[in-house]
């Protein structure tokens, strides 16, 4: 006989489970029936959980899609917050195949998944990304025998090894924090659009040799060997597909900080593509591929202003240049990008032959100070 798994107040006769909008809550509190009490020798997961487990996964999948309307606001708010955290590098990655983070966490369904606590949508914790990047940095970038052009000179490759100078700067040690901040990676709202092919999706793993994997012993005390006669044991679980937004920032607001942030993003991009993040990476899970060029939002903003400044006709410089100085003052970009815009304005003033008239003006001096 199966055991009731949920509280009486949460039974499906009392609660409209099909209207749930938080996948994490459904998965962790609303399993109606657990495995039957001991004495049932069947290893077939479907017989142990008569349809309840699969039904719960389907409800959780729908719930994640239903959460999209409120999730969009949180996602946009997060992007706005990241803009204030300069320097920052952001990228979009598409999942190649499937992704599963948190598979081994303790769960009554025996296959966990990491979901956002408030919205119940899939996320990749910053700690997972940092761990992956740190390990890849040590094993690949720090390994002279697999040295590749671009990350450093071959002689300096050792500085990326664990405990060495560049590894410490990026990731820190147990005594000191690193300078790069690995933000949680959030799935894009478009990946929760309810077409059934993205977001949370049903998946299955089918171990065939359970006794061998768990080290069961036969009557003689020898480990049971895997055989061709073992029954397959299909186990359903949830995995993730879609597009993920990844962001890194640095606690040093300068040109140097920006360079290190971009380097860290390049490292993480390689690691995500080649090694993958989360569980079952040996089976091909967790590979993320850059789905567009590195999005440097600050550079895009600065480029737009610089293009306008350069397009100014000489005759219009005297009347219009101060408006661009005001625009430059209010521009919320990194210091490096702000300096580029200042350089463009000063270059335009000089090109228009107005340097002598502008030299003693406060706004011109302010620009020159920023360029130095």
């Amino acid at each position: 006989m199966s055991t009731q798994a949920c509280r009486d107040a949460l039974k499906k006769e009392k609660v409209a489970l099909d209207k749930g909008a938080h996948a994490g809550l459904l998965l962790s509190r609303y399993l109606q029936i657990a495995a039957p009490t001991k004495g049932n020798d069947s290893k077939d997961e479907e017989k142990q959980h008569p349809g309840e487990r699969l039904e719960l996964y389907r409800l959780a999948k729908k719930a994640a899609e239903r959460a999209k309307s409120i999730y969009v606001s949180a996602y946009d708010r997060r992007l706005q917050y990241l803009k204030q955290d300069t320097p920052c590098a952001e990228s979009f990655f598409s999942v190649q195949g499937r992704l599963i983070v948190g598979l081994g966490s303790e769960h009554v369904l025996e296959a966990g998944i990491t979901l956002h606590h408030t919205y119940g949508v899939p996320i990749i914790p910053g700690s997972a990304l940092k761990g992956l990047a740190a390990h890849y940095c040590d094993q690949v970038w720090g390994n002279e025998s697999v040295y590749q052009e671009g990350s450093s000179t071959k002689q300096d490759a050792y500085k990326f090894k664990l405990g060495e100078e560049w590894h410490r700067a990026l990731f820190g040690t147990s005594d000191d924090s690193g300078h790069i901040i690995f933000h949680e990676a959030w799935i894009t709202p478009e990946s929760l659009n309810g077409d059934g092919k993205q977001g949370l999706v049903l998946d299955v793993m089918t171990p065939h040799h359970g006794d061998y994997y768990t080290g069961e012993k036969d009557k003689h005390g020898n480990t049971v060997a895997p055989t061709d006669f073992d029954d397959p044991n299909p186990i359903t679980f949830l995995s993730v597909t879609g597009t993920i937004h990844v962001a890194l920032s640095c606690d040093v607001d300068s040109d140097v900080g920006e360079k290190w942030t971009k380097l860290a993003m390049r490292l993480l991009t390689e690691a995500l593509q080649r090694w993958g993040v989360g569980g079952k990476t040996n089976a091909g899970y967790g590979r993320l591929k850059l789905s567009g060029p590195l999005v440097d939002v600050d550079q895009l903003k600065a480029d737009a202003v610089i293009a306008s400044v350069r397009a100014l006709k000489f005759a219009g410089v005297a009347g219009s240049i101060y408006a661009y100085v005001e625009l430059w003052r209010n521009l919320e970009v990194s210091p490096a990008q702000k300096r580029r815009v200042a350089e463009a304005i000063v270059a335009k003033v000089i090109e228009a032959g107005r340097e002598k008239q502008s030299r003693d003006k406060d706004w011109y001096k302010e620009l020159l100070v920023n360029i130095q």
Binding site: T3, Q4, A5, C6, R7, D8, A9, S28, R29, L31, A34, A35, P36, T37, K38, S105, E106, H107, V108, G112, G215, K217, G221
Partner: protein
Amino acid sequence: MPTREQECAQRAYVRASEQSHDEETRRTDQGAKKKEAEYQRYAKRFPALIQNCGLAQALAFAQAKAPEDYLTDLAHVVESAMLVDALAAQARCSDISQYQKLTRDTLVASTWLKRYAEALLKGEDE
């Protein structure tokens, strides 16, 4: 006069000790060794299971999968002489404030059992 937490710890210590076997028994009796390892494994997992899935689901899962000894000991550590079925029934039927208190008490009990299981018992490979 001991505190409630101390009394809980004392009950957990007694029950965990009873699951421990000496080296000679572990070497000659594979069944006893496996039983001790399995008890330790569930003792370590159970607090996290309560945190992730709530008390009612964690107990239902344990009734199906965990060693009977562990559940019997857990119920006794929560409250002296409490039975497993009574604990599970309370978890399913209580109102929310009673359920929260029961969850807190069971978390404390399972954490003490975990500590003593880690200290006094040996895993499969040890």
